[in-house]
């Protein structure tokens, strides 16, 4: 078995509004569109993901919150209907997904070996959270690539932000090791919004884009500052600013996915590609890609080398 590798990472936020705006057959709620700039951003991300030909998609979601450890989906096939508890009017999605349980077990074991509390989720009746499902639908609506779903242990909220994100850093390192040892070509998905203050009322209809704009100017400025640094490949500066960004913009990256992903990729000082930015009920969302093949940090799929 050849050594596995991470071929790319995506910042892949999960507002259910994007699924609602797209009107896929899996979602009961119907819309007249909306949030096109973000949905078009995901179209570009879908095209690039297709070229990467990954074996597996790993997603870390802030809406599977766990207190005792970092949990991993551990059932080969999961299906059901996921209803967003916050936006049930928008997101009632019938899902069906396959889990790469071998890799999930390896991630779980590696993370435990590095000192984290971990747990496999083996209950077949488990309802996968809407964050995981939205991110996976938006990046790969065909649902034809196995996934590894990882919970957001609430350590950044229970401990200090820095202590919590240190755990996510360890989780990232463990994830990378597990991917390498199992020979997978893996894509990482950080299911996180940037600035996260939001409006307290929905417009009617929810897709009325005349009502959509950043919640506040300060949050918008923070998002632009962070995106510009990421576009320039100034990863070190981004992570030195991260606690302040989290504190001042109420950024959802606090929940750990962003740190997990960058840790797994080895914090590459490479420019990220911005596929698009937009707000959803006032929150800031960027779809961004770090293609490690283009950066020479990973290899193309075997069939494409000859």
């Amino acid at each position: 078995m050849s050594k596995g590798q991470i071929v790319a990472g995506y910042l892949a936020p999960h507002p259910p509004h994007l699924v609602y705006g797209e009107n896929p057959p899996q979602n009961e709620a119907r819309s007249q569109g909306g949030w096109e700039q973000l949905r078009w951003a995901y179209e570009r991300a879908r095209a690039s993901l297709d070229e990467l030909k990954p074996d597996v998609l790993l997603v870390h979601s802030p809406h599977w919150i766990t207190q005792q450890g970092h949990h991993f989906l551990g059932v080969p096939h999961l299906s059901g209907k996921s209803v967003d508890p916050i936006f049930p009017n928008l997101f009632r999605y019938s899902f069906e997904l396959n889990v790469d349980t071998e890799l999930a077990e390896a991630c779980c074991d590696e993370a435990a070996g590095m000192g984290l509390t971990t747990k496999m989720m083996r209950n077949p009746n488990f309802r996968v959270d809407y964050g995981t499902i939205t991110t996976l639908h938006m990046i790969r609506p065909q649902w034809d690539i196995p996934v590894v779903g990882i919970s957001a242990n609430n350590s950044p909220y229970y401990l200090t932000t820095e202590e919590g994100l240190e755990e996510m850093d360890t989780l990232g390192k463990a994830t990378r090791k597990a991917i390498e040892d199992t020979g997978r070509r893996a894509v990482l998905l950080a299911s996180n919004t940037l600035c996260h203050l939001h409006f307290s009322e929905e417009p009617v209809p929810p897709e009325d884009m005349a009502q959509e704009h950043p919640h506040d100017y300060a949050g918008y400025l923070w998002d632009m500052r962070m995106i510009e640094l990421l576009r320039q490949g100034k990863t070190q500066e981004v992570f030195s600013l991260l606690p302040q960004f989290i504190d001042e913009a109420f950024a959802e990256v606090k929940s750990g996915a962003f740190t997990w992903m960058f840790s797994a990729m080895g914090y590459p000082q490479m420019p990220g590609e911005l596929h698009g930015y937009g707000t959803v009920i006032g929150t800031g969302n960027a779809v961004m890609e770090w293609n490690l093949i283009k950066a020479g940090l990973a290899q193309e799929a075997a069939g494409e080398l000859s």
Partner: protein, 270 residues
Amino acid sequence: MTVVSSFLVPGSPLPLVARDNPPWAELAQAFEQAGEALVASKPDTIVVYSTQWIAVLDQLWQARPHLRDIHVDENWHEFGDLQFDISIDVEFAQAAIAATNDLGIKSKGVDYDKFPIDTGTIVASTMLNPANDLPLAITSNNVYHDWSMTESLGKLAAEQAHKLGRKIAVVGVGGLSGSYFRHNIDIAEDRIASEPEDQWNRKMLALMEQGDVTALREQCPTYASEARVDMGFKHFAFLLGAMGGSFSSAVVHGYGPLYGAGGAIVEFTQ
């Protein structure tokens, strides 16, 4: 009397799914005692406020007539499924929605197949109303609502019950101290994770037994902060509101650890 009984109960599934574990058995037995007291009070409807039903946009009320499904807890999935069969007092819910809007708090009903019912509501319903003999009125914990607004929602619930001629039991679902074990423990050795938090819990429970509402109100903000109380103890605010702001005494049916956090089953007497 409209509010015929009132209870504070924890939302953790552990006393329900692993009741044979000694540290959690006392809480399970206490739940049963509270359930018997609830039935004896002969309510028409049980009003439930659960800290685990998180809302951020509006004040939500469950408006689907019948909820029957399986739920798997996000953290304690290894203990198996939580089955639930809950009837909703829809007339009460609709009245509460209208009244909540009239109060200036935007509110709406939730009536969707497979809407995720929170673990705390399921635990309370299963332990206190196991045969689903009584309908429930369930409302959410909007994280942006403060103590005062939550208390006003409890008051509103009692007022609507009075207008409808309902006798209600009110259940505030949530924990006490919030420090918990983050690592795996021998569950047979479970205990309150923090000694100062244990002392805080005992002090507050004693004040409840004494019916010293003035002292409770004075202590609650500090208690919530120093003992990391579940959601700022807003479930108690809802109860206080429903009870008209006071009660004469309380019976602590049980108090114990829930993986380090504190939980108690308390019955209030008005």
